[in-house]
Amino acid sequence: MTGTQITIDTHLLPILGQVSDPEIPVLSVLDLGVIREAIEKDGTVYVKLTPTYSGCPAMDVIGDDLKIAFAPLGKKVEVELVLAPAWSTDWISESGLQKMEAYGIARPLSESADKDVLLAGAKKVICPQCKSTDTHLVSQFGSTACKALFKCEACLEPFDYFKCLK
């Protein structure tokens, strides 16, 4: 969580932790770092949400899911999209990264290693299945805007790599 302030009322954390990313259901919106602010005032929860990618359809769904999550408590939710500062993969929590890997998505590398991999075909991405680094890029664009498609030469499994975004 580099350089940016997050303000979340602690009593809201358990509920927010139950709302997951619709594309990567093992990650909660807190793991993903897209919630920048959540404050309750007079029965309404005001949430500031930072999109991962501009067109990410998950953002609309997350907004709706937040409303559904708070509805049984009689709380309304107002979501505001905040673009600056722009979301970065650094905002994904360590536990989020671990859950992501266990789910079969390779975690983002550092910015320079990411460039080596996506531009120069370097073998640095670790296969989430067999942990080999004998992996290669199949497609710069994957099943969602945030991922690229890779294949492991050791276990021959294709897998998603979460691209570094800074």
Partner: protein, 251 residues
Amino acid sequence: MKSEHLYNYILGIADNSLILGQRLGELCGHGPSLETDIAGTNISLDLIGQTRSYYQYAAKISGENKTEDDIAFLRLERHYKNVLLVEQPNTHFGFVMGRQYLFDVFHLLLLKELQLSKDETLAAIAKKGIKEVSYHKRFSGDWVKRLGDGTPQSTAKMQEAIDDLWPYTQELFDMTDSDTAMALEGVGVDVSKLKKAYYKEVTDLFELATLEVPQSTYFSRGGKKGVHSEHMGYLLADLQYMQRTYPNMQW
């Protein structure tokens, strides 16, 4: 309205992204391979996402009770201010990548300046967009190189594509009244100043791709003033179909 010029300026930028996003979206399920198909729709998604941010902002400052959907779906052809380049129809894959590359180079130069805008919202949208558009340019540029420096057939097709697209490039650097007004206020970008860097970058890549720089001296323009090519009407008929057929429908 806060500023007629600001509103028009935002639409001038956003319409390019909407129309190119729509063109790429048409290819969904029709790409030459699964990977390129997915890439095309990913790029389309980024562009339409950026468009939404711009339109939401434009709707907010319009002072009328407008939404992003009204701006996207309920304007007449003459009110769209995109350049002619982005509305050119999809033909073959080389053409689609050529069109993409010629726009991506401009788009990235524009956003790099726009992130310095005095308008905080525009600066934020630009900053976010830079990350995405750099990735688009990498993809389209790679394909222009690969096809240009490929087999005799791919070279010929790529050359033909850039020859056909070249006359649409100069319009990118035309300044509308709103462009000029916003540039003077430090809100907008003086795109005429990006021309030199653009042609340098594009011709350098053509050289790597063993493509000849087109020598055409004729350039088409008009989109920025709302005077579009024949293709635009068909594109809008598709884009606006649902809202025109079922007014105010919601997903």
